[in-house]
């Protein structure tokens, strides 16, 4: 089997180090190998302490996101043969580093929880009905594709500095439930998404949508939420609850 010699530069960090450092590895890469395959090969044969998240290996779970040659991607679907001979692998930007390529994404998940991402329809539970037309389903299909890989958070230049900005994935998640036809109590979710810690920090850079591996288009969701929030403002001001 034909192989190509690749140089893999991986950012390493362990608690106690002053700052992260790049470590160089070399391996013979086959044509089918992805960046994730390369890291697993390095971990198996060269340095067992190399730490990174991965699971499904088929771009479904969102675990293996990292910055490869400056671009946030899923490592399991990033083919080595499409990259130069020197590949630089770093952890996602905008998140604190726990170890090597593993980052702390608690803040992003907290922002997602803040939009109350669930259906609220008590009467349907009683009737056991959740009817939805194909057109209604299509409306939320794109936003439903999010796999919570956090690549959009890494691509967003606002998230790092905007403490009151919910971020792209939370915006897509909020839109998914607010646009959901089966959701009958969406006011609370809309208020959360368009409140003080909601969408308004977004300046429509669009990098989140460019980087998203599932084509969720979170930028679209955020702009639509802004329109919904603006239209909802009179109701919100009059809301005495």
């Amino acid at each position: 089997m034909a192989t190509t010699r690749k140089k893999i530069l991986v950012q390493r960090y362990v608690e106690g180090m002053e700052k992260p450092e790049l470590q160089e590895f070399e391996l013979e890469a086959t044509a089918e190998m992805t960046v994730l395959d390369a890291l697993n090969a390095i971990k198996d044969t060269q340095d067992g302490s190399l730490t990174f998240r991965w699971s499904c290996r088929m771009a479904l779970c969102g675990s293996c996101s990292a910055v490869v040659n400056g671009k946030p991607v899923l490592m399991c679907e990033t083919s080595l043969k499409k990259l130069p001979d020197t590949v630089r692998v770093e952890p996602l930007r905008n998140f604190p580093i726990i170890k090597d390529l593993v980052v702390d994404i608690d803040d992003a998940f907290e922002k997602m929880r803040s939009v109350n991402p669930y259906l609220d329809r008590m009467e349907a539970r009683v009737e056991n009905k959740h009817l939805q037309s194909p057109a209604q389903r299509k409306r939320i299909a794109q936003s439903s594709q999010c796999i919570k890989c956090m690549i959009c958070y890494s691509a967003c230049p606002v998230y790092k500095v905007g403490e009151n900005f919910m971020g792209p994935a939370a915006g897509a998640l909020a839109y998914r439930y607010i646009a959901e036809s089966r959701n009958k109590k969406k006011r609370r979710q809309l208020n959360a998404a368009t409140g003080k810690k909601g969408v308004w920090g977004c300046s429509f850079v669009g990098e989140c949508s460019t980087a998203c591996p599932k084509r969720v288009d979170p930028a679209m969701a955020l702009q639509r939420l802004k329109v919904m929030g603006a239209l909802n403002l009179p109701k919100r001001l009059l809301d005495k609850e």
Binding site: I97, D104, G206, T210, C212
Partner: protein, 108 residues
Amino acid sequence: MYKQDRDFWWFTKRPGYMLYMLREGTGILMLLYIVEVIYHGLTKTPFHPAELWLGLIGALGHTLSWLWLSVLMPPLELKLWQKTGIFALFIGAWLVLSYFLLTYVYIS
């Protein structure tokens, strides 16, 4: 844990960066133009040609950069011809508004 510094310069190397800055910069020009139109309308003072150019550059630059940025991004539900049509309507509305403000507000 290690708190990463903000890597601002990464964004400046992205293809959409210059376009993003153009969009924001021309947006500021448009705001200045609106303020000037209101000012000249209220005070009945004459326009300087440079101010009209300011408005035109701001409006067209802002609109075209938004159009281009939308094209660069993954497609939304709207088709390209629909997005182009929307922005053409925007440019047209902007020109009509400018004409109205300049002639009726200024003259009266």
